[in-house]
């Protein structure tokens, strides 16, 4: 059972208005102490709380009192003594003495803790050694009581000098004070422990709530962003299609012949429109990928053909920049389970990027070879023995001899709209959408993409895609 103090506040327990004797000391232990005290000094002892509750009692039945209890007058006298002693007003020093009419004495002393009275101890009844004669008041109490028996019982009363009893009470007070101090200390410690744990828990819960709210809000914002992207790209595309269509018709002379300069201008409008359309398509792809609404149409795809196609598409761009473009595919590669169109988009993008960042006389290489990857994902690294089934995969590399990508940027280049060089004066243009789409498409193929350094300079994008679809179980 918890002591009454368990429910008390820190202030009540430390500022000294709420601590009671019962809070600080174990009742059974107190009883034992009182008993041992009585055994040692032979003076009966009782301990009461400030509210008058008996907490410890060590007194054999006093034979004289048992005898007096047999008559009414005796019972009355004893009851009066008991009540007076219990409620005796104490002096400044916290002490008081009560001499009974029937000859015995009581000594009452306050139990103080931290300058406050929290209980009292009652020592007695006892009779001083000098008091040999049986008091007349005792003999006159009731004629029915046998005088010889009264003499005998009075002589057998516990005997002590009053100043010895005062010393005893002081000693007991000091002993109790030490016990109370230890009790208070233990009580505060356990109380503080609980309160600290509770406070830490409250603090953590508060922080968790705040984080959860922030997280929910971010998720909602992210969803709004994706929606916004999808809507805007769609809305932009519609009028743009008309712009491109009409400029095409103008170029083809459907609205009459144009002069060379006019044709050149309209051609520029068409080209730029086409560029804008690609950009918007990219945005739309990204938002579809983010919202998970893009579906991949996977089939058995042949790698050499795919990379050759990419290389052919990019050849004019490479030639213009005087960059050598090379395809290097290992013989006998298996077909892979992929969306050929999306995979083509991935490598077109990576190749275009590579050419863009490679200076004239540089070289861009597209290669593919067979490799194996761990079926277990890093996040469930446990049970490697069980999970280490290897999956066959194709490792694609797009290597360039360009400016390279600093180590610190490698994790971020795949974020949407991120540019390593985001200054307005950067040499190479782009929206920063390409790589984020690349990464999501590769994710969609259960693959990975990472970047390493090319020696002596440049960057290598390594894309690894499993040959077969993942099987469960």
């Amino acid at each position: 059972m918890l002591p009454p103090a368990a429910a008390k506040t820190f202030d009540e327990l430390t500022l000294g208005h709420g601590v009671s004797l019962e809070d600080l000391i174990d009742r059974d232990a107190l009883g034992e102490m009182v008993k041992s005290f009585y055994d040692l000094f032979g003076v009966p002892l009782r301990i009461f709380s400030e509210e008058g509750k008996l907490l410890g009692d060590a007194a054999d039945q006093i034979p004289l009192y048992t005898f007096l209890n047999t008559v009414k007058a005796g019972r009355n006298v004893l009851a009066e003594v008991a009540s007076k002693v219990k409620n005796l007003a104490l002096g400044e020093d916290g002490m008081a003495s009560y001499p009974c009419a029937t000859g015995e004495h009581y000594r009452v002393a306050a139990i103080q803790y931290d300058g406050k009275r929290i209980g009292r101890m009652i020592l007695g009844p006892f009779v001083t050694p000098a008091q040999v004669e049986t008091p007349a008041a005792l003999l006159a109490l009731d004629p029915a009581l046998d005088a010889a028996r009264l003499h005998e019982l009075f002589r057998a009363m516990p005997r002590a000098e009053d100043d010895s009893v005062v010393k005893l009470s002081r000693h007991l007070g000091r002993t109790l004070d030490l016990l109370l101090f230890s009790g208070h200390r233990a009580l505060l410690t356990s109380n503080m422990h609980l309160a600290s744990v509770r406070e830490s828990f409250r603090e953590l819960s508060d922080k968790n709530d705040k984080l959860q709210t922030a997280f929910d809000r971010l998720k909602e914002l992210d969803r709004l962003k994706s929606n916004f992207l999808a809507t805007v790209s769609h809305e932009l595309r519609t009028p743009l299609t008309s712009i491109i269509g009409y400029s095409e018709m103008l170029v083809e002379g459907l609205a009459g012949e144009m002069t060379g300069e006019q044709r050149e201008f309209v051609q520029t409008i068409r080209d730029k429109g086409e560029q804008l359309l690609q950009l918007i398509k990219g945005l739309l792809d990204l938002s579809k990928l983010e919202s998970g609404t893009m579906s991949l149409r996977k089939s058995q795809t042949e790698i050499l053909g795919l990379l050759r196609d990419v290389s052919q598409t990019m050849a004019p761009t490479a030639r213009k920049k005087e960059v050598e473009l090379q395809v290097d595919v290992e013989n006998g590669l298996p077909l892979i389970w992929a969306d050929a169109e999306r995979l083509r988009q991935v490598f077109l993008n990576l190749t275009e990027n590579a050419i863009k960042f490679t200076p004239a006389q540089g070289k861009v290489t597209l290669s593919a070879r067979l490799t194996a990857i761990d079926a277990a994902r890093p996040e469930d690294a446990g049970g490697v023995v069980i999970l280490s089934a290897r999956r066959t995969a194709i490792e694609f590399r797009v290597a360039d001899t360009g400016i390279g990508i600093p180590e610190s940027e490698r994790g971020r280049v795949f974020d949407a709209f991120y540019q390593v060089d985001s200054s307005s004066t950067r040499e190479v243009g782009g929206t920063g959408l390409g790589l984020s789409i690349v990464r999501r498409l590769i994710d969609g193929h259960d693959g990975t993409v990472r970047i390493i350094d090319n020696t002596p300079k440049g960057a290598v994008f390594i894309v690894t895609i499993p040959v077969r679809r993942a099987t469960i179980g």
Binding site: F10, D11, T14, H17, E199
Partner: protein
Amino acid sequence: MQLDFVNRELTIKLVYYGPALSGKTTNLQALHKAAAPGASGRLMTLETKDDRTLFFDLLPLTFRNQGSLAVRLKVFTVPGQVIHASTRRLVVQGADGIAFIADSRAAETQHNTESFMDLRENLKQHGLTLRQMPLIIQFNKRDMPDVRSDAEIADLASKGREPVYLAVATRGVGVVESMIGLLHLTWSALDAEHDLNKKFGFDPKAFLAQVAQKLGNPKPIPEILQACVGGALDVLRPEAG
């Protein structure tokens, strides 16, 4: 503050705050040692490990026979280590005055700052501001090497509101002065709020003199109060409201 009308007894809570190992417990030990018999109860130290306070220390000081009101001071320390943030918040709750014990060593400047911010934050959690709180600052460990110079501290103190004390708590230097300064500020703030002097016919100067006396410093109070550098001990009452 707790006022017991029946027994005409006032209990004031003072808290010694500061970074880990700045000498908060040492301040209390020095006060305990200096206190006359009867004025101080046992110094209670809760759960220490390697001499580091885990929960708090508590020194009860009692001053009776002053006018018609007995004053009990409960002087607490907080655990300075960063991890005991929640305990500090619990202990500082309901404080009537705070002594911030800073470590004078130049290398500890950052820890002092962090602890002071922590104090401010904890008061804020209880809906209090530093401005409302009677506060003194003690630069302890003046006897250590590489401490910030007296001139530097005096210069900074002259710009601040809080009285600043220089101390060597291990030798009891500046400890009583800091306590008297804190008590002076605290009493003034409590009196401003509760009109204690008038209600109880209380003489604060005589009270401070009694406390100083019982803590073993018989110098006149104005002299003890002058031990501080900078700050504003005479601006006794915090802003109304």
